[in-house]
């Protein structure tokens, strides 16, 4: 296992390098003068000149990159001109809100997706299978920004069960029930697409495994059906699903942009959309970098979990 961890861990380095390079390139590619873009249109020429020196903007691009990377690694993401506060403070605060939303959505995705997939596979060709298969396809075809609004119309405005918008911080003064009350609609709206993907994959992996000889052997040894399904079949089927759960985190983190916009959730997605509007490039850069690096690490974690579950991967 240790060799695999090292091998897979080392793959993170070039990818992370590429990610930083691409995020840095954003600055070079925006039209106009970067220093002026960072400081906003009301900056004095002196301020612009100072910043240009600080960021080595008068030097060749590779020097600029190294300067920028050095700043970022030491936690200096610059200062947002539109908010007049350090970018790092803002993106960390916003990211915790997004993590609360996306984390809850991930929980719903995994529980719903795996359960629906297992039931559909076990009841293949029965009504449960058809219901879940169509349900999964409906789930992954509904645009989450639309579903979020439908949820508001039905469950918030119509039935009045949940608030229409807003967030309560996870570790704030309001109790866990209030936090949850605000979370249910946005997290579910976000989760359904990903749950559809997971359900379809779980179903097909389970069907494949259930056809294997060892499952028949287990059944003929007189082991209970439940044990055959969960201990023998599911444990092997889930191996294929784990890395895709990692990929789905990317869809949740991205899709959060829509859901946050609809529900007025103060997360990083909504911040990005606002920052594009105010052309606050440092905020966009910092936010994208933070989320992308998180996603790289989550995919790493998913692959390591998969390897822990399946010796063929860590030894192959």
């Amino acid at each position: 296992m240790r060799a695999y961890v090292v091998r897979r861990g080392l793959q993170v380095i070039p990818v992370t390098f590429g990610v930083t390079l691409l995020v840095f390139a954003m600055m070079l590619l925006i039209p106009g003068d970067p220093a002026r873009a960072i400081l906003g249109s009301y900056a004095t020429p002196e301020n612009v000149a100072t910043l240009e020196r600080q960021l080595a903007l008068d030097r060749p691009p590779h020097i600029q990159y190294v300067t920028w990377l050095g700043n970022v690694v030491t936690g200096d993401f610059g200062r947002s001109y539109s908010l007049n506060r350090p970018v790092l403070d803002e993106i960390l605060e916003r990211f915790s809100a997004t993590l609360l939303l996306a984390g809850t959505a991930l929980l719903i995705t995994v529980v719903l997706g795996l359960t629906a997939g297992i039931i559909a596979a076990v009841k293949q060709h029965r009504w449960q299978d058809r219901a879940f298969t169509v349900g999964a396809l409906v789930g992954l075809s509904i645009p989450s920004f639309w579903l979020a609004m439908i949820f508001i119309v039905v469950f918030a405005l119509g039935l009045g069960w949940f608030p229409t918008s807003g967030m309560r911080p996870a570790f704030g003064p309001s109790g866990p029930l209030t936090v949850l009350h605000h979370l249910v609609l946005p997290a579910t709206a976000l989760a359904l697409v990903a749950a559809g993907v997971i359900a379809r994959l779980t179903r097909s992996s389970m069907l494949e495994v259930l056809r294997q000889d060892y499952v028949r052997t287990a059944t003929s040894k007189g082991i209970t059906r439940q044990s055959v399904i969960m201990r023998h079949a599911f444990r092997n089927a889930v191996v294929n699903v784990v890395p895709v759960i990692g990929v789905q985190v990317g869809f949740l983190l991205g899709g959060a942009v829509y859901v946050e916009t609809v529900f007025g959730w103060p997360g990083i997605g909504r911040m990005l959309v606002t920052a594009i509007g105010t052309r606050d490039i440092l905020l966009v850069q910092g936010g994208v970098l933070l989320v992308a690096i998180t996603y790289v690490l989550i995919n790493l974690a998913a692959d390591l979990v998969q390897a822990a579950l399946d010796p063929r991967i860590r030894l192959g």
Partner: protein
């Protein structure tokens, strides 16, 4: 369609009867009722979008403040009106032209660039393969929509830029799938034969390998086109895509959001259209995948 009868093709030199490939695909597809339903829905939607200029529709831009936020089924406005009194049916059909063509264009761009990368990487292997696919890995390292948003931040909001962003984000799906198929094809006997005949590498790549990679490209297109329509609509919804006076389904949804309490139908109408098109595409895509690649079933 005449191909459904699968007329056999005589190959000239050996006289062996081989069923026509297109015919088989169509016959397999026809057996899947949901796929056929999807195809019919799509055909109707595409037809409506194409015929928009000749249909007896009210001008989609004509405002009528006295007649604003009319409900579905009101007189003269089958789907009601929006916050400026514009006819929603007309806007839906005209907006569909924009949404569908942007989605299809994005798919074509992503498919051409992504497939080319995949073909080259898979065919030449070695350092070419390595450097191209590491680049693809970097694109995949970003959460899908986030990269699109970052690209729009650089390019500036607008429908064309949103389309470019969405196609770039989808390039990896094509590159990976096509590379995989290409690698397996390169090892096959008929490519060896082509090499033995001293065909140029370009000829082998485009005349021998590409036609056999086509099913992979088509399958990937069918699975991604729905996302691309949804995601470009999503960018418009966020205000990063279509800018007024241009309007697509996403921009209509974004405008409808403001009136969600008083007139939810303004956002339900365009959202239903996106949903209907995407689920039809998914039904069709599932059937197409089974028909083109029976091994996956």
């Amino acid at each position: 369609m005449s191909a459904s009868t699968a007329s056999p093709d005589q190959t000239p030199d050996d006289g062996v009867v081989v069923p026509r490939r297109g015919g088989t695909t169509w016959r397999r597809l026809k057996r899947n009722r949901l796929s056929v339903a999807g195809l019919i829905v799509l055909a109707i939607v595409v037809l409506l979008a194409l015929l928009a200029p000749v249909l007896p529709l009210i001008d989609p831009a004509a405002t009528n403040p006295a007649n604003r936020l009319q409900p579905i089924g009101s007189e003269g406005h089958l789907l009601g009106t929006d916050h400026l009194g514009r006819d929603l049916l007309s806007r839906l059909i005209w907006g569909g032209r924009t949404s569908l063509s942007v989605g299809v264009f994005a798919t074509l761009i992503a498919a051409s660039i992504g497939s080319l990368i995949g073909l080259i990487a898979g065919f030449f292997g070695g350092a070419t393969d390595n450097s191209l696919m590491r680049g693809i890995d970097v694109l995949m390292a970003f959460p899908y929509l986030l990269l699109a948003i970052a690209l729009v931040a650089v390019l500036g909001p607008g429908l064309v830029n949103a389309m470019i962003a969405i196609s770039i984000v989808n390039i990896p799906f094509f590159a990976r799938a096509v590379r995989g198929t290409t690698v397996s094809l390169v090892a096959s006997e008929y490519v060896d034969a082509a090499r033995a005949l001293a065909f140029s590498r370009l000829r082998i790549l485009f005349r021998e390998v590409l036609p056999n990679v086509m099913p992979t490209i088509i399958i990937t297109m069918s699975t991604t086109v729905g996302w691309m329509i949804t995601e470009t609509a999503g960018l418009s919804f966020l205000g990063l895509g279509a800018q007024p006076p241009t309007s697509d389904w996403g921009a209509m949804l974004g405008a409808g959001r403001e009136f969600i309490t008083r007139a939810p139908h303004v956002m339900i109408v365009p959202g239903s259209a996106i949903f209907l098109v995407v689920i039809s595409l998914n039904f069709l895509g599932d059937g197409l995948r089974d028909a083109l690649d029976p091994r996956l079933k």
